[in-house]
Symmetry: C2
């Protein structure tokens, strides 16, 4: 079985790395903060001192980092993975980054004969722990077939979208729709509440119809319980929405709704909600109309 490297043991990365070990792979890890590294060592992982050292020791390297600059630094920076990766080795970047950056990285790595795929995920911390993530893969078909088994150690729904970069294209589409669906729920249900009707009764009446959505079922209970513990933070969603808009701009795609909601998210972050779940978008609309969903 291949030796797997894992860089980025954050909220998502740590449980994903554990699930790789549970599937029987030998794991070599690197992370800036050492607490997670110690935890993984106890469960049988080997620790390395730099991305370069991880890369030297493994056949396939998984990265799970916050944003494009982090991935660039870990792969191409001082003591970066590229220095330790020999020809034919594979990098699977599971971070949610700009597809433009993913394609640039692919070109840079290809110059040294190193293969890459982008495979961002959705499903949050619970999906990472339970190994039920949805994984959107950008890879050529043969690489996808070769590494599908490794991806299935971390996720339940694994789909190849297209070539390298297209995993992150799918993720951007996903994040735009999710933000807009949460905003729609907030805006519309506030009208219902202000009309004097119990929003929970409206939910019962409409959630089975055309207005029904996974976002409605997942987020509406958080809104009515006034519980905005992440989940997925507004701060991270803002990062994804910025990538959406940057990509849209470079492709001359107009996104008036996503632009508007991104401003709302920015406003909320400025008012101290960075670490709240993205369902806290409700608060923007509550402030706007000086009204509460649940009184």
């Amino acid at each position: 079985m291949e030796r797997v490297g894992f860089i980025g043991l954050g909220i998502m990365g740590k449980p994903m790395a554990k699930n790789i070990m549970k599937s029987g792979y030998d794991l070599v890890v690197y992370n800036r903060s050492q607490t997670s590294v110690q935890e993984l060592i106890k469960e049988g992982a080997e620790a390395a001192q730099s991305p370069k050292e991880v890369a030297q020791k493994v056949d396939v390297l998984v990265t799970m980092l916050p944003d494009s600059p982090d991935v660039k630094k870990v792969l191409l920076g001082v003591d970066g993975a590229i220095e330790g990766l020999s020809k034919g080795k594979m990098v699977i970047d599971m971070s949610s980054i700009s597809p433009i950056v993913a394609r640039e990285l692919d070109v840079t790595l290809q110059d040294k004969g190193i293969r890459m795929m982008d495979a961002p995920v959705s499903g949050g911390e619970s999906g990472a722990i339970e190994g039920t993530l949805a994984i959107m893969v950008g890879a050529n078909e043969s690489d996808y077939e070769l590494y599908r088994k490794l991806l299935l150690a971390m996720g339940k729904s694994v789909h190849r979208v297209g070539d390298v970069g297209s995993g992150n294209v799918a993720k951007l589409v996903n994040q735009s729709i999710v933000a807009l669906n949460i905003a729609a729920i907030s805006e519309a249900f506030l009208l219902g509440a202000k009309s004097g009707v119990d929003p929970r009764s409206i939910y019962e009446a409409i959630s089975g119809g055309l207005a029904g959505s996974n976002a409605l079922n997942a987020k509406f209970p958080m809104m009515t319980d006034n519980n905005f513990m992440a989940g997925f933070t507004l701060e991270l969603h803002k990062k994804d929405l910025d990538n959406v808009l940057k990509n849209a701009q470079s492709l001359n795609v107009e996104m008036p709704l996503t632009s508007m909601v991104t401003e709302f998210v920015e406003d909320l972050i400025k008012s101290g909600e960075a670490k709240s779940d993205h369902s806290a978008l409700l608060k923007y609309f509550e402030n706007l109309s000086s009204s509460k969903l649940i009184r």
Copy 2:
């Protein structure tokens, strides 16, 4: 069994009236256009010459009309139903109208001892034919219990939302969310397409996750097939969105996203798409970015 009156034998009303007869009720109908009336007579209905005459002959009167002014005219106008309804009789208005008008009508009818509930539907023509409509009911609890059986002749999911008017409040919330979800799908998937990725592959990868919705599953195939045959027309959705915004304004609720999408719908109607399905919202975004979802 009660004798039921039915006024408004349009695309939705005609199959709903037929389903009432199929459940064993005697039916008296009135409609401006006579073609539908003849069709109903053949199946055993009795025809009346005015809303007043229908009202005189039945115990409960169902109305299914395009908008608030139509309902007002049929109930309160010359030879209107109010002239034929005696004390204790029930009006079930299943039209999608402003909840403010629904409440006003209730007050007017109550003055004459006539009961009313609002019970707008969703599910479109196919739901009306198959008797699988979702029905959102605004009524007091005892009226709801009394007429639930009649409503179940037309719908599958029947929910009491609250008192009279709240059926239409739920419908407005529903229509706002549906419009925004369709707009979100359009805007986000166009970014995916312009990025050079097959939108259908993105759909496969994300529809099971947090971006998944009933609108996505129902409307995305229409968008990729370039088939915008209604379904539910942009014209009718515009009418509902206008009611949403009118109600929001009267309650000081800000709805920036719904306002924006309503403008887009208006623009499409002006360019000749009034009778297209509301999934044709895609075309607004395609024009905006001079780009096609499927090339």
